[in-house]
């Protein structure tokens, strides 16, 4: 890689050992991908929780702190594995909960803004078109690239932190124009109503085309999708397809037309998605949702409008005895929802609302599953339906209204 004078100084350790180690790591990664240079970034978003990083990762953070490491870029944190208000109720391991506290302390000492959200793009920072950032959590990346037209690769925790400390990231992948062109065409020939439908499209397109560098181009969308709908589509494409970008003609900024989305590339193939494909997908989750004792609205965290909708659906109803309904959101959204009455409505219905976490990364989830006798998990999130299988849950994807109907007793109008 060609380094600037400042980058050379970093590499020589003139800006401290933490920055030296950070840029060394970034250079090795950049060289793997054939990056020729670094690009300056304005924002970093990193995953850092004890469930994923373990004792080794926590030790690493502590060493970076001891070396005097400091983020020079605005840096936010992704959802974590403990909501401290509910750790005891969920019977999370007190020792691990203590470690999560430590992780947060280390991150704050490193000048990280610990907002603990995977919907930073809805609630914390919205980069503009062409802005280079270093974001982790695949859902944030695909949203940044596709909907904002900003530029980022999937950046795992340690390299996102490195980028935050050096203020730059190697220019490969989605920082470069050549990787942002469409690779295949998806004709949508159906109406999409629910978040689950949008996520389902992500599964239908992502699963058979699994490739980080594959960029689907959607046409035929019948109306302007909302931010939450694009979020479910993106999260599912990233989850099932490991994809980091999509175009939607007439909707996303780098796809004013089909030609605009593909530039000089020819689509490798064309997919057409109809109602029958969607129906078959739902039918593929064979189990009946009604006999499940676990319903989860998470992955990504719920926005204020998703919470509003859930509050409307749960109003006046009661969660069935012996059934658990979990909603996860960010600290900020929960605080906003409180005075609006959404939290009270949901809690009165018996819904458990967790903040600053995402369901699938909850500390102690495998044991929680066994202790609570959970097996089948019903959700409106296609991403969750994919990812949760690692924890031996049996997922069922259903539309939001169907989830609520199956989880509750019929409402008693007051």
């Amino acid at each position: 890689m060609i380094l600037t004078a400042e980058e050379e100084r970093m590499r020589r350790g003139e800006m401290g050992p933490a920055v030296r180690d950070a840029i060394e790591l970034q250079i090795k990664v950049g060289e793997f991908w054939g990056a020729e240079r670094f690009v300056p970034i304005t924002n970093a978003h990193m995953m850092g929780d004890i469930e994923v990083m373990g004792e080794a990762g926590k030790g690493f953070l502590e060493r970076v702190k001891e070396m005097g490491g400091q983020c020079r870029t605005m840096t936010s944190t992704n959802a974590r594995c403990v909501d401290f208000s509910y750790a005891e109720r969920l019977r999370q391991d007190p020792a691990e909960v203590g470690k999560e506290h430590q992780v947060i302390r280390f991150l704050r000492d490193l000048n990280v803004t610990t907002v603990d959200t995977c919907i930073n793009y809805q609630t914390v920072y919205q980069p503009h078109q062409g802005e280079h950032v270093a974001w982790g959590d695949t859902g944030t990346v695909i949203y940044a690239n596709s909907v904002f037209g900003a530029r980022t690769n999937f950046e795992g925790g340690p390299v996102a932190l490195a980028a935050a400390m050096t203020g730059r990231t190697p220019a490969y992948g989605f920082h470069l124009d050549e990787h942002r062109r469409g690779s295949f065409l998806v004709e949508l020939d159906l109406d999409l109503d629910d978040y689950a439908d949008w996520g389902a499209i992500g599964k239908l397109v992502g699963e058979p085309n699994q490739n980080y560098f594959s960029v689907p181009v959607f046409t035929g969308v019948k109306r302007t999708p909302t931010a939450d709908e694009l979020k479910h589509l993106g999260a599912a494409l990233a989850s099932y397809g490991s994809m980091a970008m999509f175009h939607m003609v007439g909707v996303t900024p780098e796809a004013r037309t089909v030609e605009d989305a593909f530039h000089d590339r020819k689509p490798t193939h064309t997919m057409r998605i109809t109602r029958a494909d969607l129906d078959a997908l739902y039918a593929g989750f064979k189990d009946d949702a009604s006999d499940s004792n676990l319903f989860v609205f998470s992955a990504p965290q719920q926005s204020i409008y998703e919470l509003k909708r859930l509050a409307e659906l749960f109003a006046g109803r009661r969660v069935k005895p012996g059934t658990t309904v979990i909603v996860t959101t960010s600290h900020g959204v929960k605080a906003q929802a409180q005075p609006l009455g959404y939290i009270r409505t949901l809690q009165e219905a018996g819904v458990l609302i967790l903040e600053g976490v995402c369901f699938y990364i909850l500390q102690n989830l495998p044991q929680m599953r066994i202790e609570n006798g959970w097996s089948k998990l019903v959700t409106n999130s296609a991403k969750l339906a994919n990812i949760i299988k690692a924890h031996k849950f049996d997922p069922v994807l259903r539309r939001t209204q169907e989830c609520v109907d199956a989880a509750t007793l019929p409402g008693v109008q007051q």
Binding site: L25, K28, V29, F32, W33, G34, M47, G48, V52, M53, G54, E55, A56, G57, F60, N78, G136, D137, T138, N153, F154, E155, G156, G157, P158, V159, A160, Y172, G173, Q210, N211, Y212, F213, A238, S239, S242, A244, N386, I387, K389, A390, K392
Partner: protein
């Protein structure tokens, strides 16, 4: 025809070990029990296989940001593989492997299953960008 595969990109030290050839992609978040090192997702083509000290061949990378920390974590727990060999990988797998100092490669000149079977002993040479069959194994990992 020589028993060598050329790879497009590579990082890490030369390693030799038992091959595990998967028809299915991989994610440490989706597929792996990060305490035992076992592929845990029900229905994964490698379900029940332990990745410790193996040389793992995967056609694709799935998901996820988790590999960034997870590879470092499994390395410190002593359950890391010796190398990841991907047909198509994603940046996080590479970032995670580099951070944990685990050998990783991307892209292959021919399907590994044409010459390598699970259980064979193979050598990955990142400097030469080659993977060689060292000797035939028992067919089990």
């Amino acid at each position: 025809m020589s028993e060598t595969i050329r790879v497009n990109r590579a990082f890490g030290e030369v390693v030799e070990g038992v091959a595990v050839v998967s028809e299915e992609g991989f994610s440490p978040r989706y597929d792996l029990d990060r305490w035992s090192g076992e592929i845990s997702r029900p229905g994964h083509k490698l379900e029940g296989i332990n990745i410790k000290d193996k040389i793992l061949f995967f056609p694709t990378a799935k998901g996820g940001i988790a590999a960034g920390w997870a590879f470092y974590d499994i390395k410190h727990k002593g359950i890391a593989p010796k190398a990841f060999v991907f047909g198509v990988t994603n940046p996080v797998m590479v970032q995670g492997a580099v951070f944990a100092n685990i050998t990783i490669t991307d892209g292959w000149s021919r399907e590994p299953s044409e010459i390598i079977r699970t259980g064979d002993i193979v050598r990955v040479n990142p400097q030469e960008k080659t993977i060689e069959l060292v000797r035939r194994g028992e067919g089990v990992a």
